[in-house]
């Protein structure tokens, strides 16, 4: 597993732990009410698990296992592009997650910037892995 995949997968495990923790707090608070403020954790819970955990894990595993033969320069594609996608997606997840806790207009703008960062990360990731979606050379088709 290449270094950037390890970072993507271990980051996804961290988000799994964080997302499950927030989810447990939200569900516990639903059954045994502690404070209504905890409802503000919902956007971070969703973002951590959907983007931070599931999407980032897929990015890490795809970078690891997709066919590598015939890709120029690096067998895993551009390493710089993979790191850029990692940085953009992770910055985006946190900006979307903390938005509800920031007062005023900034709190409304942060999730927008976060989503833009995630979208940019998706573009960089897709462009970088595009050439690796091909026959592996090991199978007949």
């Amino acid at each position: 597993m290449p270094r950037v995949s390890r970072w993507l997968v271990q980051a996804s495990l961290v988000y799994l732990a964080l997302g499950f923790t927030l989810g447990a707090v939200l569900l516990f608070n639903k059954g045994i009410p502690l404070t209504p403020v905890l409802v503000r954790l919902l956007p971070a819970h969703i973002e951590f698990l959907l983007v931070g955990w599931v999407i980032q894990l897929v990015m890490g595993v795809a970078t690891w296992i997709f066919p590598r033969f015939g890709v120029p320069r690096s067998p895993y594609g551009s390493e710089a592009a993979a790191w850029l996608a990692f940085a953009l997606v992770n910055a985006g997840v946190w900006l979307v997650g903390v938005g509800p806790f920031v007062a005023g207009q900034v709190g409304d703008v942060l999730p927008l910037i976060g989503r833009l960062a995630e979208a940019a990360g998706a573009v960089v990731f897709a462009a970088n892995i595009w050439a690796r979606v091909r026959a592996s050379g090991l199978s007949p088709m």
């Binding site: 390890r6 271990q10 799994l16 732990a17 516990f28 639903k30 894990l57």
Partner: protein
């Protein structure tokens, strides 16, 4: 494919079908005047899909395919992995029962069942993270 992976994946397939059945029942709730508990089953539908189906499928495949931890314990701590499976599913099933029921009968003790469900699912997730962490390595 190790036996625990087969359990994870087959259970995830059951949740996949169950989630879509709940989705159909929810969509049919208003036009067919079905049981009012279905109106409160939105979070159950989402979590059957995201936790029961997607996350559990990932758990099973990762337990099978990730680099080996060591020659002695290639898939990490097997007891911890089994405990993660049991906690995750016990917690999710408890939620499926308790959440819509709690919405209809808030004072009937189902709130505590939701609290227990939260703890069980959290333990399941943490068990997987702890057991998988060391297997994210070069080879």
């Amino acid at each position: 494919m190790p036996i625990l992976t087969r359990w994870f994946i087959k259970t995830s397939l059951v949740y996949f079908v169950a989630a879509l059945v709940v989705g159909v029942a929810q969509a049919a709730h208003a036009p067919l005047s079905l049981a009012s508990g279905l109106a409160a089953a939105g979070p159950v539908y989402v979590h059957l899909l995201v936790v029961g189906w997607i996350t559990q499928m990932i758990f099973g495949v990762a337990y099978w395919m990730f680099p080996k931890d060591s020659a002695e314990a290639p898939r990490g701590n097997d007891r911890l992995a089994i405990a993660a499976y049991v906690c995750l599913n016990a917690g999710l099933l408890l939620r499926v029962i308790a959440e819509p029921t709690y919405a209809l009968h808030p004072g009937a003790g189902f709130g505590r069942a939701l609290g227990l469900s939260a703890v069980l699912q959290w333990l399941g997730g943490m068990g997987f993270v702890v057991n998988t962490w060391a297997r994210v390595k070069e080879r």
